[in-house]
């Protein structure tokens, strides 16, 4: 039955681009009309999963954030509603705002470094000879494959105050002040190490994705730009970047999400310390929930995290919507 329909619908690229935006009356105007229930059957498992495993827990989390929910309530389960009290508590706590500011700083530093370095690495990789390219790609893939917990453990070892190779290297280079320097005791240093770790872990994915996108740019475009006498940076600005804009936005958004949610690395390495120096929002939420047993405040903190993150990602959503408009 579908086969007949398929054949009856003419399909040429021109025709496709000519068709209007979907949504209002897809059946008539789209080249591929919905065939009854099929699409819904196909997305049903995904929807089901998202409803039960994500939306439902999320709803429970919202509920918790509106209740007085502590250890006693977790065990006995007779929580009382307190309205927006938890949110008020958080928003009037100067420590919370410090954490928010730190989260944004952390994210900004990481994302800028990741995007810059991975773009450079991607451009470099594309220009390499074949053998070199393979080696670089393999190295990137290996760094990417390194499990977070293992990588974090290794970084702790690299920066170990007594036997760490970093202190040894710095000391042998003549920086004697790094002899047995306790990296994790100083807020700034601990912050810096986490940035290095996260950049190290994130660049491979971003670089590989950008590199693969670069390979899809037709070389004629570069040729003609070069013939026009454009310089390297100029070509990047006016040819490469516009071509790769969607992918830049995608990678950028993913990195924003991932660094905003960086949790395991920090939790395993510093638990948010020393002091509050590496406490960003997810760490704060977990600390409040699990260590102080204020599950209500912790939940409220993560709801606010989601709101703040969405704020940063407006761009992402706009791009996405534009793409969905663009019929294929």
């Amino acid at each position: 039955m579908p086969a007949i329909r398929e054949r009856s619908a003419p399909r040429t690229p021109q025709h496709r681009t000519a068709s209007g935006p979907p949504g209002d009356s897809p059946r008539r105007r789209s080249p591929r009309p919905a065939r009854g229930y099929w699409p819904y059957v196909l997305i049903a498992p995904a929807i089901g999963g998202m409803l039960y495993l994500l939306a439902y827990p999320l709803l429970r989390a919202v509920l918790i954030s509106l209740q007085d929910f502590r250890l006693r309530q977790l065990i006995a389960g007779d929580a009382q509603f307190v309205g927006l009290r938890n949110y008020r508590t958080l928003l009037s706590d100067p420590r919370f705002w410090e954490v928010v500011a730190r989260t944004f700083a952390f994210m900004a530093v990481n994302v800028v470094l990741i995007m810059t370095i991975s773009t450079l690495v991607a451009l470099m990789t594309e220009r390499l000879a074949k053998a070199g390219r393979t080696v670089v790609l393999c190295a990137l893939v290996l760094a990417w494959a390194m499990p977070v917990v293992a990588a974090t453990t290794v970084f702790q070892w690299l920066f170990h105050s007594e036997f760490g190779v970093v202190n040894w290297l710095l000391t042998s280079l003549g920086f004697d002040s790094f002899d047995r320097y306790p990296w994790f005791a100083d807020g700034g240093a601990a912050f810096a190490i986490l940035v290095v770790l996260i950049v190290w872990q994130s660049v491979p994915f971003a670089a590989i994705t950008l590199y693969s996108a670069l390979t899809t740019v037709p070389s004629e475009l570069y040729e003609s730009a070069r013939m026009d006498g454009a310089s390297g940076p100029r070509i990047f600005r006016s040819v490469t970047f516009p071509m790769l804009r969607p992918i830049f936005v995608l990678v950028f958004s993913l990195e924003v999400i991932w660094t905003f949610k960086a949790f395991v690395q920090i939790w395993v390495m510093t638990r948010g310390g020393p002091g509050d120096a590496t406490t960003i929002l997810p760490v704060y939420a977990v600390q409040t929930a699990l260590s102080s047993q204020r599950y209500d405040l912790g939940s409220a903190a993560s709801m606010l995290t989601v709101v703040l993150m969405s704020g940063v990602l407006v761009l992402y959503f706009r791009q996405m919507f534009r793409q969905e408009d663009d019929p294929r």
Partner: protein, 419 residues
């Protein structure tokens, strides 16, 4: 209707097949009840654990004991998860600084009725009090220990230092300075041993936190507490202890086992761990109480220890109680005290370890024993532990007063987060 009938009959068939397989499936096999016990890492030796399980199972053949060792790191969350579940372990060992919050949570079985049978009137106060909440007893005292100085008799002799003569802090520092020559470390004191710091602070008359007007407030920035930290720093400098780690990272027993450390501050049981790692040190370890400010009072020490609790959600609480009765009864308490150099859970049993040099050094210190603030809020302080950060910051040359104020604020916040 038809469907249900079919389902019903197939259940019957299945039941028949199952029972045909022989043996009854209830009660976990052949009439045994399995009691799940959570003990903390290194709280008992593997040998003692084996001996106890064997002895207990011989006496109670209907109960099978399954011991799981838990790590101290992150234990609060783990116990929380267990208490809130439907199928919790039957017996859990909980540190005496953490038991108060769980007693208050409603997730533990009320054991007040067994208090008399367990001879509760002789319990050590430092263990019994945190295990009680609103007049009811939830935690049963298990064992206690406090810190002493473990020293190398041979190194002391070589340096011409008489350990028995060390009675005051000044003498202690003087002796340690003398020992701290060449490859030998006078004392291995990691920067974050906050229980030791507590002792020095209590010596000065300070505390970690103080209650004023019904609210707990961090007190590390008081002059007394700052003097305590000052002494800690002075002592810490007489060895190569890392400034950014506690006694578990690396385990100080392993460090001492390498042979170049003259003293460590540890519970007497730590000596066993040293010998385990380096049997050559077997007859070369001695003990003395942590010296106080003057010769007539020993140094203040933190009374550490554990309670045993039964979660309300435990499946076999009756058997769990049987196990607790045995483990906290005379026989096993005496054996435990000897094996691990612990203070037994009751004052009447103190004679059990009278001959043990480590235990007698510990007993001297115990006379000046202190506890962390007895409130459910304290566990949150330990979970975040701003004290450790403060110690490191002060030791690496930070402004102690400023760092102490910061840490005190963090303590205040953590202790009051839940009220």
């Amino acid at each position: 209707m038809k469907y249900r009938l079919l389902a019903g009959s197939s259940t019957l068939v299945m039941a028949a097949t199952l029972s045909a397989c022989g043996g009854s499936a209830d009660e976990g096999g052949d009439g045994h009840t399995t009691v799940d016990v959570w003990l903390m890492r290194d709280s008992v030796s593997a040998a003692f654990q084996k001996e106890f399980v064997k002895g207990f199972e011989a006496k109670h053949p209907e109960i099978e004991v399954k011991v799981q060792i838990q790590e101290w790191d992150g234990i609060g969350e783990k116990i929380t998860a267990a208490l809130a579940s439907n199928d919790a372990p039957d017996v859990i060992e909980v540190g005496n600084t953490q038991v108060a919050q769980f007693a208050a949570s409603g997730g533990l079985l009320d054991l007040t009725d067994s208090k008399t049978e367990l001879k509760g009137e002789h319990w050590l106060r430092g263990l019994a009090e945190p295990g009680a909440y609103e007049g009811k007893q939830y935690g049963i005292p298990y064992y206690a220990a406090n810190r002493v100085v473990i020293y190398r008799t041979d190194l002391f002799e070589k340096a011409g230092v008489d350990a028995a003569a060390i009675k005051t802090r000044d003498q202690w520092v003087e002796a340690t300075t003398k020992l701290n020559k060449g490859k030998t470390q006078g004392i291995y004191l990691p920067g974050q041993m906050w229980y030791a710091l507590g002792g020095f602070i209590w010596d000065e008359g300070g505390d970690f936190a103080a209650k004023s007007g019904g609210k707990w407030k961090g007190a590390l920035d008081t002059p007394e507490a700052l003097r305590g930290m000052e002494f800690y720093a002075r002592l810490q400098a007489l060895g190569k202890g890392p400034k950014d780690a506690d006694e578990d990272d690396p385990p100080q027993a392993q460090v001492m086992a390498k042979g170049q450390v003259a003293q460590v501050i540890s519970t007497p049981g730590g000596a066993n761990a040293v010998i385990e790692n380096n049997p050559g040190l077997k007859d070369k370890l001695g003990f003395f109480p942590i010296p106080g400010k003057s010769a007539d009072t020993p140094g203040a020490v933190f009374t550490g220890g554990s309670d045993l609790v039964i979660p309300a959600a435990a499946g076999d609480s009756e058997e769990a109680l049987t196990l607790i009765k045995e483990l906290t009864g005379d026989t096993w308490q005496k054996k435990l005290a000897v094996a691990m150099s612990y203070v037994p859970n009751r004052t009447t049993l103190a004679s059990a370890v009278a001959d043990d040099p480590g235990a007698s050094a510990m007993a001297v210190g115990a006379a000046n024993g202190h506890a962390t603030p007895n409130t459910p809020g304290w566990a949150a302080v330990e979970a975040e532990n701003p004290i450790k950060d403060y110690m490191t910051a002060a030791l690496v040359g930070g402004d102690a007063a400023k760092e102490a104020a910061k840490a005190s604020a963090a303590i205040t916040r953590a202790m009051n987060a839940n009220s």
